[in-house]
Symmetry: C2
Subunit: 241 residues, 2 copies
DNA sequence: TCAAAAGTGTTCTCCCTACACCCATGG
DNA sequence: CCATGGGTGTAGGGAGAACACTTTTGA
């Protein structure tokens, strides 16, 4: 953080923050990473001490090259999670005049997707916790609203770019992938149609680990074909549901 | 604008602006409203004096309820165009550290659509001018980049919500509507398929002014069915091209 | 009289949808 | 042995894409 001191301007300036909605998936449902406010040393300057909030913090005017860097840095500082700035997607600007009573603060909301499995131990459990989407406590500031907006954004984005790669383990099964989509879109799909659609996208490579495909009870394992996946992500596509 | 004075903060704050990409349509091509920087009294504090730029300006911390209000207010002040805050769509945050050499400035880019015909005389021609998209001069700051981003956004949005209403005169023809879509998407469509698609959307009402439909050389006139149009806009739709 | 503009309808194909049966496992 | 989970194929419908001809006007 930039040094505390005295900074003088000819016109009033707002404070600017980046907030992060981090989505994870545990194989059953979508989860969001929240932090408990006020554990930090600088607690005194924070409002909503003790309540849950989205990770995020102030733009460091001297050091953050872009607001996405702020998101990346704050997430790392607050939760130990390390995501590159480019892994964040911008959701939008929240700028209501009195969203923070202390001073004028506008925030740029971001979201990102992470594999829960690879991250489980990395987060600072003291302060950070994963919550089910249906089970979110009351949040500081307008963070409920930001969270809803981010989830709606994810719901929309999933129609135009494949999404599993960031959320699923390296190797996964079709039922897992389907459950992921169903969790995000809060709906159910026909197994056969879903499988067809996915296979025709050409981003699934069958994985042949040793386990014999005895019968059909044990699901087939796949991994994403990174080349095709990225190509598809670049080009975008229309996935109708 | 808030009173000039001395404003002191414990940490450095960025300045925040809203920039506006205003698209219009003259029946042939898409145009963008630009302003000439530096004509104002406060010119001394402005960089890029004399060059063209997007309309926009600083968030008034005390008066602007949201950043969209900033966009609306600045557009009005600079170009006499009056658009409600809700008529702006947010494109995104541009926050590169050195996008403004004087101080750290982040901007929230917006775009909006207006009927050129209704606006022609309203703009302050001294300072504001409509430019063809293919004919944009070099712009101040990173405004070229913002303009490109806004246009890409418009291109995407047009797939999911009808767009003609904001850009066309009250009464228009199918060829006009098609040309509008072709201008935005920079492509050509088959007349018959385009007509079918549009008619099936149910947002076109045939207009019977007196002119006899002699032969087929004079195009049929339509207006938008506002109810269906708004409903469609609310629900969103998938328009494949 | 010829080129340009505008209106219209049909066929083909593809993709999405709905839907049922089989097999193997584990309780 | 039965409930559960997972794999697979097909028939029908709807929407997009491709495509040609007619009329009128203005040059």
């Amino acid at each position: 953080m930039a040094k505390k001191g005295t900074y003088i301007y000819e016109y009033p300036h707002p404070a600017v923050t980046a907030d992060c909605v981090i989505f994870g998936y545990d194989g059953k449902s979508i989860k969001v990473l929240l932090i408990k406010r006020g554990a930090e040393k600088e607690a005194s300057k924070h409002a909503f001490v003790g309540s849950w909030a989205l990770p995020g913090g102030f733009l460091d005017v001297d050091r953050d090259r872009t607001i996405a860097n702020t998101a990346s840095r704050e997430l790392r500082e607050e939760t130990k999670l390390h995501l590159r700035p480019s892994e964040f997607k911008e959701v939008g600007c929240f700028s209501e005049k009195n969203r923070d009573e202390r001073e004028r603060v506008i925030t740029i909301a971001h979201y990102a997707l992470v594999k829960l499995t690879e991250v489980e131990g990395d987060t600072d459990a003291e302060k950070a916790e994963w919550y089910n989407l249906g089970d979110i406590p009351s949040l500081a500031f307008d963070h409920d609203q930001i969270l809803r907006a981010a989830f709606m954004r994810l719901k929309r984005d999933i129609h135009f770019e494949p999404v599993g790669f960031e959320l699923l383990p390296e190797v996964f099964t079709l039922p897992q992938l389907q459950n992921l989509y169903e969790s995000i879109l809060e709906t159910k799909f026909d197994r056969r149609n879903f499988a067809n659609k996915m296979k025709h996208l050409g981003i699934l490579d069958e994985v042949d680990d040793g386990t014999p495909r005895n019968g059909t009870r044990t699901p087939i394992k796949y991994r994403f074909n990174k080349d095709n996946y990225d190509e598809l992500k670049r080009r975008g596509f229309q996935l109708e549901f």
